[in-house]
Subunit: 255 residues, 2 copies
């Protein structure tokens, strides 16, 4: 569980890093599992634009025991429940590869825009735990946030293309326009949390974030687990995406 | 002139930052001149791929008094002469825009590869002074170097396309392959020098460098002045590029 100071930091900034939550042995196992998922994930694997370089693989917690256990870890689940004030389930699970020399830019966006418009999530009472499969440095494309930017709530997004397949491409279906981002960043600044392998970065459903390409020889693998409160379960009648992108089983997780 | 410690740092690292060499008033004037050059430079202006966003403008020292004076500044010229151990002239002059939210990636490359193969420069006895028109931060696409990487000399480059026009595009004509960069960076690491407006970053002809996109609301304008020793003047019979990319006047500059 988080301390009051950590809780306060998360509420104010919209993100929080816990260093070395998982050890080297655990991370090595997760990396091995991740490599297998990239190799066998089929339609659940996305690639960098105009290449066959893997960009992400989704829904792994439904397909492998290791990731099924990870989302129920006593080092993650109670924190997610604490931050959301609810029992939780996994709305979305993704491994983001950000390969050495290959991982490309992600535009400025809020995750909640996708969950709201594509999946029928009623409120932004969800969050993501990013587990660092590799050390995150200044040079391998760290997630970059506007501290406190979640306080603006859901920001009108520019919409590009139609259909849910577009939510997975490098040119994101929902991105925030430059004028809005300029105002937000001029006021709040930017932060790109770094940390060793095994660290966990918690971030709010509404915090604007982006990342630059990875120009380094080090992969920047992240496991991204999106926990949603069971009271905030999605409206299946409004959900457009398959189960490996937007869960339909709202049973609360148990550690 | 540089101190022995600064000289040593430059020789070892292949780059050196001097903070606040030019003051706010001087930088504001240079920025105004730069804006005019982007507006009127014609063929000397390059754009980001598939856009009309200005990426760079060349040869401004031949077209405006302000930049003509800048390359002869007593704060730059004696340092260039000291570092090159020769009288010098300007081989190439460029303003690099790296616009807020627009500036794109530059691949790993060595400048000397271009000067050698396209311009007939005999030896890597040249260097570049980068004058910061804006504060350079972690977030606006700083130049990123392999410290000491100039010690590897000229590295075989991957060649893409033909003709000199290709030397100006986002997908560079000469770039260093990933395997080579991996070895170099694993051994030497990476560094992205930051600094306030008006700082000067000196870097070697052979130091491998790259930069990521600018995802911030702050431009990252640089004036890049490439000084070459007069004893290292290019072979005009081998030079392929127009004078605004590769000077044909080797007269030593005077402060």
């Amino acid at each position: 569980m988080l301390s009051p100071a950590q809780l306060d930091e998360y509420r104010t900034q919209g993100f929080l890093v816990q260093e070395r939550v998982f050890d080297e042995v655990e991370i090595r196992q997760l990396k091995d599992e991740a490599a297998q998922e990239f190799a066998t994930g089929g339609e659940r694997v996305t690639v960098e634009a105009d290449t066959d370089v893997p960009r992400g693989v989704h829904g792994c917690h439904l397909h492998t025991e290791a990731f099924g256990r990870l989302v129920r870890s006593p080092r993650l689940l109670p924190v997610a429940e604490q931050l959301l004030g609810d029992q939780v389930y996994v709305h979305q699970f993704k491994i983001n590869a950000k390969r050495a020399f290959k991982g490309e830019v992600w535009e400025w966006h809020q995750d909640y825009t996708f969950w709201h418009h594509e999946d029928g999530m009623p409120e932004p009472r969800a969050l993501t735990a990013a587990i660092f499969l590799d050390e995150v440095t200044e040079f391998n494309g760290p997630l970059t946030f506007v501290p406190g930017g979640h306080g603006s709530g859901e920001i009108d997004a520019e919409v590009e293309g139609e259909g849910w397949a577009n939510t997975l491409t490098a040119s994101l279906k929902y991105s925030i326009d430059i004028g809005t981002m300029r105002k937000l960043i001029d006021r709040n600044g930017l932060a790109a949390p770094k940390g060793p392998r095994g660290s966990v970065l918690w971030f709010d459903a509404n915090i604007p974030h982006a990342s630059v390409p990875n120009i380094s020889p080090s992969d920047r693998g992240l496991v991204l687990i999106t926990y949603n409160g069971v009271r905030n379960k999605i409206d299946l009648a409004r959900s457009t995406r398959p189960e490996w992108l937007a869960a339909r089983d709202f049973t609360p997780l148990e550690a």
